[in-house]
Symmetry: D2
Subunit: 122 residues, 4 copies
């Protein structure tokens, strides 16, 4: 129920690798199709919120079935990001740390605090 | 350089929480806009491969600059998925494990081995 | 300035065909990559509204530069849908009419009037 | 069967306006949610081609049922682009013409002929 503190990125990659190899899916899992997977699953996640007000969206998280639908779609996005990382030897924790250092420069606290502007608009 | 074995999901969530709170972004980070973030960043990842052959895509991973571009876009997708999980108290490792159990049933090994069909097509 | 009443779908397809053939792009414009184009450009359109309130979004249409940004991204989505239609001999007006007849059945007026529910939820 | 030569953009907008007003959907059809609609339907179109080789994708257009699935998803994308144009008084033919003039400059024939490079890579 509370596995995020004890689950490493490598644990997740290993689980996914084993799932895909049992199905002999390496042949289909090139980077381009995996990126399509990330994108189409992200679309399914977003679709849950289409035409919903922000209040309705908050309510979905308090409804067990709707919350599970949301979590399922998030899991599908994660699946493809992790699979892409596993297939192409990408250390995701390092990639994320490096990108966030770039974001620290792109979005300096003093300029972006409380703002929703993009980095090219301030 | 090799942080995935020792980085937990909670470590990543904590890093992202601190980044966003320093910028007072909680007010903008409702689930709907975060899902938009997941989707638009997934589009940027996919855009790197548009009109590229599978051979060209493989070559991009051997080019340091292009590989970093790909990793950066993957990091951006991860950022929003993790932020959504952190903001709404979703245990992502549990969500992924549960979804993969559903996928084990939807895609039984004996029926899907070596196949690229969707679960509603076999 | 007001060309929609006098421009047919075939006019737009012809303009796009000529643009792409002058660049010898037929070789890259297979259906899969064109669908990637539709999706990534749709992401760029959506990205303009990320983290914006509904009021801010309305304001963007009253700002000449922001309105042009929105229209440009809509044009990019249209470009790829029309190119896909032109390349694969799809009569888009017929496809849209047929799909809307299906939607009339999926979303009957008496059940959907004033509702934002999906067809599988009422 | 062959309606694209005689159907104007305004004809399509009028059909969609009437469909949406009969359902009293104006209240949900703000630009942000309509852009979400464009993006999620584009994802459904792309999803049809996920893990398919280019040869398999070509074959889908020769199969009546699969061809109709593709056309339906293209129609859904068009629906939301046209609805957004109709709702916000955007002349789509003009927007497309203007964007293609920008693209003529971004992608000059002599530099882009036979190339799949983005404008910022040549």
């Amino acid at each position: 129920m509370n596995a995020d503190p004890t689950t490493s990125i490598v644990d997740l990659k290993a689980r996914i690798k084993s799932f895909c190899e049992a199905r002999d899916w390496d042949q289909y899992h090139n980077a381009k199709d995996l990126a399509i997977g990330v994108s189409t699953e992200a679309g399914e996640l977003l679709d849950l919120f289409r035409f919903k007000s922000l209040e309705e969206v908050e309510g979905m998280f308090r409804n067990a079935r709707e919350r599970e639908d949301i979590e399922d779609e998030m899991a599908d996005v994660l699946f493809f990001v992790l699979r892409l990382g596993q297939k192409y030897d990408i250390d995701l924790a390092t990639a994320l740390a490096r990108k966030m250092e770039k974001n620290e420069l792109k979005y300096p606290v003093e300029k972006t605090r409380g703002s929703n502007l993009k980095y090219d608009k301030f």
